[in-house]
């Protein structure tokens, strides 16, 4: 770069994969000499990494783009992420946006911006396309780093726009993954989160998801491994056994989406409730405290009150540590858009309230079942009062007095009290030994 240090700000919406990709871009720009500033500060470049999974995400993405342009008049505004794929032409027509970069070229944004400041105007379509060409994330950002092993999805669930905006399923070669893991650990990370759009369908040469996990667990170092999100289809005993490895965290986010088999079929999901239950039981037979978290969609077309009740029953039955509920929203171009009997918003809202209540009860029960037990917490931050926060291996948010301890270290903490409810719930603990 030829002039004073340029300032760059980022804003990320949506999933963990998006967050990882932003983190990697931050590291990229940081290394290239840019000053990374908070989104609220004025910057020469603003990158908005958007999401389009629901109507609400579209709205949030649009608002964020407007906010970025309004607060940074005359600056370079780069819009990327799934909304950039879904509404590319519309966004390209907006004057407030300088560049619209599709997901597969997101990793080359530094080239684009560098070129811009050097007077070289590149059309984003000329950028190198590679969904895995990201920098190793710098440790200053978080204590956990995602490891991207896969992108895209071929499942074509009838409600989901992701196959359209993230593209076909593609798996990262295993040697690249292991190199990324080693570099990430060398940067000081203590927790790796295995990430992708549909990681259970990893397929590279003869390697499958279990092989990737096994290879990562074999890398030397002081770290633990978490899996971000999985589709609940067909896990074998070998997969369950992998969780007995001391580095594996006993937590899975298994996306149930509905407790009704009829609705699951219309969603074109690959499992039924009995299979989901089988997986839960398989794990909990071996690891009784195992934390299952999940996603549920409320108000899918033609969802009857009985279907909905089956989702509530599932929440009450499976002792989820957390349930992320979504009100179904139409995504243009999906099969569900053309289905009959769309549920009125009033009913969706009412069902959403009811299921949230059940979910909060479930979370409360799950967290309370840990009182008196000890967790290994990775410290994410310590405030001025010397209170540390972080997550235990079961993905339980823990706060505890941590004098003399440092961020990004493990601490053994006895859990004594649950505070708050729902998203704000956390467990207060005491340092052991």
């Amino acid at each position: 770069m030829n002039s004073a240090k340029k300032k760059i700000a980022f804003k990320t919406l949506g999933c963990r994969l998006n967050q990882y990709e932003t983190d990697a871009l931050v590291s990229d720009f940081d290394k290239a000499g840019y000053e990374v500033v908070d989104f609220k500060e004025h910057a020469d470049v603003v990158v908005v990494n958007t999401c389009t999974v629901t109507n609400q995400s579209d709205q949030k993405s649009r608002n964020t783009i407007s906010q970025a342009a309004r607060n940074n008049k005359g600056s370079v505004v780069v819009v990327t992420g799934c909304m950039a794929n879904n509404y590319k032409e519309k966004l390209e027509g907006e004057d407030k946006i300088t560049y619209v970069v599709e997901n597969n070229r997101k990793g080359s944004i530094l080239n684009l911006v560098d070129g811009h400041f050097g007077g070289e105007l590149i059309h984003p379509e000329k950028l190198h396309a590679d969904v895995f060409s990201y920098q190793v994330v710098d440790k200053s950002l978080h204590t956990r780093s995602a490891i991207k092993i896969q992108d895209g999805c071929d499942n074509f669930c009838t409600f989901c726009i992701i196959p359209t905006v993230r593209g076909r399923a593609v798996s990262r070669p295993l040697p690249q993954i292991i190199e990324n893991v080693k570099n990430t650990l060398a940067n000081g990370f203590k927790e790796l989160v295995i990430t992708g759009v549909n990681i259970g369908r990893y397929e590279w040469e003869d390697k499958r998801f279990e092989d990737v996990l096994e290879a990562i667990l074999s890398v030397e170092g002081d770290f633990r491994v978490r899996i971000s999100s999985l589709e609940p289809d067909g896990f074998g005993d070998d997969f369950v056994k992998l969780f007995s490895h001391p580095r594996m965290t006993p937590h899975l986010h298994l996306c149930l989406q509905s407790g009704s088999d009829k609705v699951l079929l219309r969603m074109r999901r690959m499992y039924d409730l009995k299979q989901f239950e089988h997986t839960v039981n398989l794990f909990r037979a071996q690891y009784p405290d195992f934390n299952f978290t999940t996603d549920l969609i409320v108000g899918f077309p033609d969802e009857s009150e009985d279907d909905f009740q089956e989702s509530i029953d599932a929440v009450n039955r499976y002792n989820f540590g957390h349930v992320h509920t979504f009100k179904y929203s139409v995504r243009k171009g999906t099969r569900a858009e053309r289905m009959d009997n769309h549920i009125p918003d009033k009913i969706k809202t009412e069902r959403s309230t009811r299921i949230r209540e059940a979910s909060e009860d479930s979370r409360d029960r799950y967290l309370n079942s840990f009182l008196g037990k000890t967790e290994t917490v990775l410290i994410e931050g310590i405030n001025k009062q010397q209170v540390a926060n972080g997550y235990g291996e079961h993905y339980i948010p823990v706060h505890f007095k941590a004098e003399g301890l440092e961020k990004n270290t493990f601490a053994r903490v006895k859990l004594v009290k649950v505070e708050g409810r729902g998203e704000d719930a956390r467990v207060i603990g005491e340092l052991v030994g």
Binding site: D154, F156, T158, R168, G234, D261, K262, L265, R266, R268, M270, Y271, D272, K274, Q275, G333, R335, R338, M339
Partner: protein, 226 residues
């Protein structure tokens, strides 16, 4: 002139010229496209668009893996948006093909020692024709539920002792009534792989019947049509 294609080119989406619209009944037809370099597994589906139209729809592939044409089976929906347009296509018109997609496939390791039962309603027979044409030695039974016997698409291609036609609107089928009536009364070997394709109500009912008969959900593969 024969063109030599680079083997490493992977087709994901492309335009094809319609070769033939083959009429099977008044409402149902198969659309034949040149297969060219397009490769797929029997049972998979494609997304089909018409040049100049912004919409697309998914169709199971009706042809076998080694057939000369890529073929899909379409039933025209009265007052529908897409199928009447497909129905009016002429040879030479362009359609856009995306794919192939899906995991609704035959497990080749099981072909030698498993029985296969295909359960289809209406045009849900499409992936099964593809499977039967691809695996000529497959030990299969095809249970096809339709309203009238004339909807037994390409019936002559299946061995008569392997094809159970269930007709609910006339008595021309082997079984008069819905296919679920036949499923309830039938018995199957323990080591059977079931493949269900059709509308979600049929699949839901068939799943329940098979589970009641003691078959494991892992033995039952589903492809839902909407």
């Amino acid at each position: 002139m024969t063109m030599d294609f680079k083997p490493d080119i992977k087709l994901d989406e492309t335009f094809y010229k319609v070769k033939e619209v083959r009429r099977l009944t008044e409402e149902t037809f198969s659309l034949r496209l040149p297969k060219s370099r397009f490769t797929y597994h029997a049972g998979q589906h494609i997304s089909l668009g018409i040049q100049g139209d912004y919409q697309s729809r998914e169709y199971s592939i009706y042809s076998g893996e080694n057939d000369e044409c890529l073929e899909v089976l379409v039933k025209e929906v009265e007052d529908g948006y897409f199928t009447p347009k497909l129905s009016k296509l002429k040879p030479g018109d362009l359609v856009e093909v995306n794919g192939p997609f899906g995991k609704f496939k035959i497990d080749e390791k099981k072909t030698a020692d498993h029985k296969f039962v295909f359960v289809a309603s209406g045009t849900g027979i499409a992936p099964f024709r593809s499977m039967v044409r691809t695996y000529p030695d497959l030990d299969y039974t095809l249970i096809h539920g339709v309203r009238y016997g004339k909807e037994a698409y390409d019936k002559d291609e299946y061995a008569p002792d392997r094809h159970i036609l269930c007709t609910s609107g006339d008595k021309t089928g082997k079984v008069h009534g819905r296919l679920t009536k036949y499923l309830k009364s039938a018995s199957f070997e323990k080591k059977t792989q079931f493949y269900l394709c059709g509308n979600s109500n049929m699949i839901f009912d068939a799943l329940e019947i098979l589970k009641d008969k003691g078959f494991d959900r892992d033995q039952i593969h589903c492809e839902v049509y909407f």
